[in-house]
């Protein structure tokens, strides 16, 4: 049975785990790798599986493209049980990116990116056009990079090629297993931003595995916090995880600074701003904030300048009002579970 996922409208697919469990060795052993996992990822969402090593997040991910078969339960893509689909054709329609990238060292960047279209038997011209399009999308200059070999790339460039390769056949679902864990922090941040941009642009459904809670909160539409023994502790939007951790374990996992972390999930544009003073006074302010800045960055700027407030401007340069420490504190009192991420 062939899989015809989301072709045509090219939007993301729905991914559903139904009581999926995985036992290794004598089943059901004392500690399963994945324990009765049920969750649904809606089309176009980024679902981040986060937890310490050995919590079964990677195993769960691999159930989707059948690199791991569940011991019990099932995984559905758009309502179709993946076990009923031929594993090879399933994998060709599900993008897959791993930490070590696994680029083919004997192939050029272009050949690597064109792997899946070639497996699918696309005509040469269409493959070539797609390669250029993808390289542009992930921020690699095709003319410069097309004929390079993986050995000639930096770590960040390799991840970009891996991302392009995974997206080549316009998969409705992408699986990403700690894709940015091996690159340095600056490059990681840029890659995260670009992945989010591309994901929003294409509407692909993404399942993303990481052990880094900050990355999870940044990337996830919803975050699945998993604990030792393959057990799902909480599955919620990031702001809710920070505001209302479901268990003691989740609270400890997100850290004592969870209120601070939540600041990174909101932009100044989403805050109540005070528009009390005239624009004349604004000229005197030595500090100016942008509406698309996160509250965390804005707070940091205020503290660095030794001030309790600062003017906020829209992207068109229009004055929107003042961001004040007072208003910030009130936003927590009034609305501790602030639905920050739902833009």
């Amino acid at each position: 049975m062939a899989l015809t996922l989301g072709r045509g409208d090219r939007k993301g697919a729905t991914v559903t785990f139904e009581h999926a469990s995985k036992y290794y060795g004598a089943s059901p052993g004392p500690s399963p790798a994945v324990d009765d996992l049920s969750l649904q990822v809606e089309p176009g969402e980024v679902c981040v599986l986060v937890g310490p090593s050995g919590c079964g997040k990677t195993t769960s991910l691999k159930m989707v493209n059948r690199l791991v078969e569940p011991s019990s339960g099932r995984v559905l893509i758009d309502g179709t049980d993946v076990a009923a689909v031929d594993a090879v054709s399933l994998r060709r329609s599900v993008g897959y990116v791993i930490q070590q990238v696994g680029l083919f060292p004997h192939q050029t960047v272009a050949e690597n990116v064109g792997t899946v279209p070639k497996l699918l038997g696309w005509p040469r011209a269409r493959i070539n056009a797609r390669i250029d399009e993808l390289m542009d999308l992930v921020g690699l200059d095709p003319d410069q990079m097309r004929n390079r070999y993986p050995a000639q790339l930096s770590g960040g460039e390799r991840q970009r090629v891996g991302l392009a390769r995974a997206m080549a056949a316009e998969p409705p679902v992408m699986l990403m297993d700690e894709p940015f864990a091996a690159v340095d922090p600056l490059v990681r941040e840029r890659l995260q931003d670009e992945l989010l941009r591309i994901q929003r642009q294409l509407g692909t459904t993404v399942l993303f595995v990481t052990h880094d809670i900050n990355e999870a909160l940044k990337m996830g539409t919803r975050v699945a916090v998993m604990e030792q023994g393959g057990h799902l502790a909480q599955y919620s939007p990031p702001a809710e995880i920070l505001a209302r951790p479901a268990t003691e374990y989740v609270a400890r996992f997100v850290g004592a600074d969870r209120a601070l972390k939540s600041l990174a999930l909101r932009t100044l544009g989403q805050m109540d701003l005070e528009a009390r003073r005239g624009s004349a006074e604004i000229q005197d302010q030595s500090i100016s904030l942008g509406a698309d800045q996160t509250v965390r960055d804005a707070l940091s700027a205020l503290l660095a300048a030794g001030r309790a407030e600062g003017p906020v401007f829209g992207s068109d340069g229009r004055f929107l009002g003042f961001f004040t420490l007072d208003a910030l504190v009130k936003s927590f009192v009034r609305e501790p579970e602030s639905s920050g991420n739902s833009t």
Partner: protein
């Protein structure tokens, strides 16, 4: 010095370039025995090595083959092939030599192919499977091209070993360049001996060179960048 002049004179003597004992005929004999034995060894060992490497089975078998094969002296293999060739009615000379050379070519090809496929980066294989390659495609598009440098080294070692040992075939009355050596020893004709040795050495080095060239032509530049490829599992393996 006189000796070397003698060698030079022998080499340019027109008598040594024609007839059944002439240099061209001996070279052709040498090459035909070697190519035949190498081709048979290739057909036997390469598919087996690919299969064992891809499935991950038979590692212990491979180690034992390597260890035992290395311990058996080529002279003994050659002599043991005599009764076999006699039994099959193949006579002296060409066939006993070919039969003796085949087992010498198998271990380097088998071991290097097995090791090459086994040592392909696991991430590459997982990425290939994750993108929807079936077993055959993983082998053909990921494992073989990535392992090509080591596989080719095995083919080269087998070829050089076979060309070298074909020399000993003259002891069991085959043709080839070994004739000059064995006859030279028997007649105490040091010039003939030296010329024969020189020609065999050149032939072996040309074989080596041909495979080095083949490696450059066949192996992806992406792998040649990565570094030197003088790894030789066949030489390093001890199990």
């Amino acid at each position: 010095m006189n000796f070397l002049i003698g060698v030079g004179a022998w080499l340019v003597g027109p008598a040594h370039w024609q007839g059944g004992d002439g240099i061209p005929v001996r070279v052709m004999e040498h090459l035909s025995m070697s190519v035949a034995a190498w081709a048979v060894a290739l057909c036997l060992a390469l598919p087996l090595g690919l299969f064992l490497g891809h499935t991950g089975r038979g590692g212990g078998v491979a180690i034992n083959v390597a260890n035992i094969a290395r311990a058996i002296p080529s002279l003994a293999v050659l002599s043991l092939s005599l009764p076999l060739a006699f039994g099959l009615g193949l006579g002296l000379g060409f066939w006993p030599t070919v039969i003796a050379l085949v087992p010498l070519g198998i271990p380097p090809i088998l071991i290097n192919t097995y090791t090459a496929i086994r040592s392909v980066d696991k991430d590459i294989v997982e990425a290939a499977r994750g993108m929807g390659m079936d077993g055959w495609q993983v082998l053909r598009q990921a494992e073989v091209p990535t392992g090509a440098p080591v596989i080719l080294t095995g083919l080269r070692t087998a070829a050089v070993t076979i060309v070298a040992t074909a020399t000993l075939g003259a002891i069991v009355a085959s043709g080839g360049l070994g004739r000059y050596l064995v006859d030279g020893l028997a007649r105490q004709d040091e010039t003939r001996l030296f010329v024969g040795a020189l020609l065999v050495a050149i032939l072996a080095m040309l074989t080596e060179g041909a495979f080095a060239w083949l490696g450059k032509a066949v192996v992806s530049p992406g792998l040649q960048q990565a570094g030197r490829h003088d790894q030789e599992p066949w030489m390093m393996w001890t199990g």
